[in-house]
Every structure is written in C-alpha cells, then in structure tokens.
C-alpha cells in the first residue's frame, strides 16, 4: 500500500468536536456512536444555516480529524473534529456555534482506501508503513477526507476514502 505524498499545506477548518471514547456505549448499543452523532449535529446545524456553506473553500468535501493527546494513549479518549475547509480570510465570519481548527503547515502521506478496507484497521497499516518507509508523524493527528467518492456508510462497497497523515522523514 503506497500513499501519495502531498506537499506541505496548511488547512483551516470550521466545524464541531467531541472528546471522549467515541464508541462508549452509554447511550445504548443499538444507537450510533458519538462520531455519527457528531456528524448529525454538524449537518443539522448546516441545514439550519445554509449561508455558512458559502464559506466552504472545498465544496462538497468534509474532514474528520482525530487528535491524540496524552489521555488518548492512556485512556483511549480522542478529540474528534468534523468540519469543512475555509479560507483564512473568512475565519472572522464563522458563527459562534462552530469552532475553528487550524491544521499546521505540513507534508502529508495520503492513503486511499476502498470498499471493505474503509472499515478495516487502516491505522495499523499506516503505522507500519511510516516505520518501514522511514517517516514519523510530527503532529498528533490524522484526518479522513470525504468527498463525492464516498457513497455513505450503507454503501461502503462503492466508496473511496482518503486518509491524510502528517509526515516527516525520520532522523
């Protein structure tokens, strides 16, 4: 599995976040997990405020960022941020209900997963690739990039998902 190397770029997102174990079943096992609920909360906000979509820099593309901190490794608690890309010049126009997430200027390895691979343990594959290719990740996050190629969770077989991992040559 060879990723595409994406040259350095900075990404600014507007969106919403969750912090905790995203799969905590406190709400019951027949309901969706916290990430699904976060997406729903974000979409519901966008449908109520369609004017916000005008700020999108990448129409019809959405980001799901997983951010690690010391509690992530210790307790399995993640920050998950879902959002859309905006321009730096629009930062001041973001409504109070949304947050801004600035992803630093960095080079990325972009892994493309199709069909069943999307629900597989691709993070493990990515970790293995980083080690074997002599890279490490200089930042504590990665993100999934959803665009028109992703056909929905109920149609994973025909879907494509890109995962971006910040990279830096080791040593």
């Amino acid at each position: 599995m060879e990723p595409v190397i994406c040259p350095e770029k900075q990404i600014i997102l507007m969106g919403m976040s969750f912090y905790g174990d995203p799969f905590d079943t406190r709400t019951g096992w027949d309901e969706e997990n916290h990430i699904g609920r976060l997406w729903k909360r974000f979409s519901a906000f966008l449908s109520r405020h369609p004017e916000v979509l005008e700020l999108e820099n990448q129409p019809d593309a959405a980001y799901e960022v997983h951010i690690y901190n010391p509690e992530t490794t210790e307790k399995g608690l993640f920050e998950v941020f879902v959002g859309m890309e905006i321009r730096l010049s629009d930062v001041e126009r973001i409504p109070a209900e949304l947050s801004i997430k600035t992803l630093p200027l960095t080079e990325y390895a972009v892994f493309t997963f199709k069909g069943e691979q999307i629900s597989s343990d691709w993070e493990k594959l990515i970790q293995d690739w980083l080690t074997s290719a002599g890279y490490h990740s200089p930042h504590m996050y990665n993100f999934q990039y959803y665009d028109a190629r992703f056909k929905g969770l109920d149609n994973l077989a025909d879907s494509v998902l890109d995962v971006y991992v910040p990279i830096q040559k080791a040593g």
Binding site: D21, T25, R26, W29, D30, S120, D121
Partner: protein
C-alpha cells in the same frame, strides 16, 4: 489476524494480568494487535465496556476485595491497583460502590454482584451471539402475585430446580387449569428467600394456602435469555449493561418470568428493579 472475539479476549486477559501494573489502553491495543482507534472501536462493540472503564472497574473490584479481606492500609491498596493517590482512589471507589473505601472495609458487603468479575470467553460468546437483543427499560404497574415462598438455603446454582418444585406445589394449590408461566422473586435483603407465584385470573379466589407478594410499580430492566444462559444474562445485566448505561439495579431483588413448559430452550425474562435516578 485472529478473529476479533479471540483478539479481544486476549486483550481482556492482558488487562487481568495488569490490574496491579501500570498499563495504558495503547499498550493493551498493541498486545491485541490493533491500532488504538480500531481497538477501542472493536472492544466497545464486543465487550460493551470501554477498555478504560473495564480496567478501572476490575481494579476497583479487586481493591474492594482486598479492603474486606486484609488489614492493608487504604493508601497502599490504592497504590497496589495503580491509583495516583488515595483521593483519586476514594473518588473512583465511591463512584462505583457508592460508599467510601473505609465504610466498605467496615461493612464488608457480602453480595458478590456488586463486584465486576473478569469477562470470560463465555461472556463474550453470550454478548456476541447472533440473536442477542439488548435489554430494555420498562415501566411496570404494581403487580400482585399469589404463590409460595421458601427460605433460600441452597446454592443459587440450584435455583432452577427449587423454583420448579415451588411451581408444581402452586399448581396443586391454586386450582387453575392452565398456567403457561410463573414468576419468581428472589430477595436477598435480610434472610434470602425465593417466592414463586402467578397472577391469578380475574375473579379467581386465591387459595388460603398461597402467600401474596406485591411487586412495586416502577422502572425495571427487562432482558430475555434462555434458561441455560441465566447466569450469563445476570452477569451481563449487573456488570455490563447497568454500569454502561448509568443505571443502578436493586441488588437485593431479582424477578424472573419462567415458562411452565419443560422445554430446556424456553426463554425466561429477567426483570431487575432500577433505582430511580
């Protein structure tokens, strides 16, 4: 790659081996052969606990046993089970058991259902069987039962036989033509007793020989399980479902609706009264 249930059971064993050793969820994921994110997703799906919640509940349960069985200082027990200090131990302990460690040591509660036991392969198979249906919270009206009761001196494993016997006696005493199901009530507050009874049809006069038992109206968790899986179902309710959804069961009362059929595959329905929030 191993089957997920097998890998996750390996993770459970790894946790059990590290109750008294510092361990992170990332290390547990690594031992199971998963990335951290995929691990917590899979663990939650198959065990119905978050990995950290399970680790903490197991540590607190073993610490509770040590409190009752030894003279070791509370601060030392807290350190044995990797709590940062006595304050964080006491806070977590009180959250799980509703009493501080000092009071637990004094009272030495004997109800084993209060403690989270290690998840077994049988538990995982039970939770992950294809026809698993999650428990539901239901509100029941006050119910009056007529039946017989007996002091509970036997091991609870012998309960099915005991309640069948009680049921046969009721059939003789109640003069009711057909009884498709009966209700058992196991009470552990004070001297333990088992009551088995039926709801009499309207207009049917109760025989004097039968005792009356009233079940209070309120919220109950309802869970269907095969009679043969009764113990697994109870373990699941007490130690997984209730803590995970933030419900507190009444540990001293257990109600079961049993089929009068002799079919070993007959399903029973367990009702645990829930304490009000």
């Amino acid at each position: 790659m191993q089957e997920p249930v097998e890998s996750i059971f390996h993770a459970v064993e790894y946790i059990e081996a590290h109750l008294q050793t510092e361990v992170t969820v990332a290390q547990i994921a690594d031992a199971a052969g998963y990335s951290l994110f995929h691990f917590i997703r899979t663990f939650n799906r198959l065990v119905h606990h978050t990995p950290y919640d399970y680790l903490t509940r197991r540590r607190l349960s073993e610490a509770a046993k040590a409190l009752a069985a030894t003279e070791r200082r509370i601060i030392d027990i807290a350190q044995d089970f990797c709590f940062e200090n006595q304050e964080s131990f006491s806070r977590a302990f009180k959250r799980m058991f509703r009493v501080p460690p000092s009071l637990w040591r004094e009272v030495k509660p004997h109800n084993a259902d209060l403690l989270t036991p290690p998840i077994t392969q049988a538990d995982l198979d039970f939770i992950n069987r294809k026809d698993f249906r999650p428990p539901r919270v239901v509100t029941l009206p006050k119910t009056t039962l007529h039946g017989l009761m007996t002091r509970l001196d036997v091991d609870e494993a012998d309960l099915p036989a005991l309640r069948k016997r009680l049921f046969m006696d009721i059939c003789g005493a109640a003069s009711v033509a057909q009884i498709p199901e009966y209700v058992t009530v196991l009470s552990r507050s004070g001297p333990a007793y088992l009551f088995a009874g039926i709801e009499l049809p309207e207009g049917h006069a109760a025989q004097r020989v039968l005792a009356v038992k009233t079940l209070p109206a309120g919220n109950y968790v309802r869970f269907g399980a095969l009679a043969a899986q009764r113990i697994l179902a109870l373990r699941y309710l007490y130690h997984t479902w209730c803590p995970a959804v933030g419900q507190r069961p009444a540990f001293d009362l257990l109600i079961e609706v049993c089929s009068a059929e002799k079919d070993p595959d007959a399903e029973e329905t367990i009702y645990l009264p829930l304490e009000s929030a």
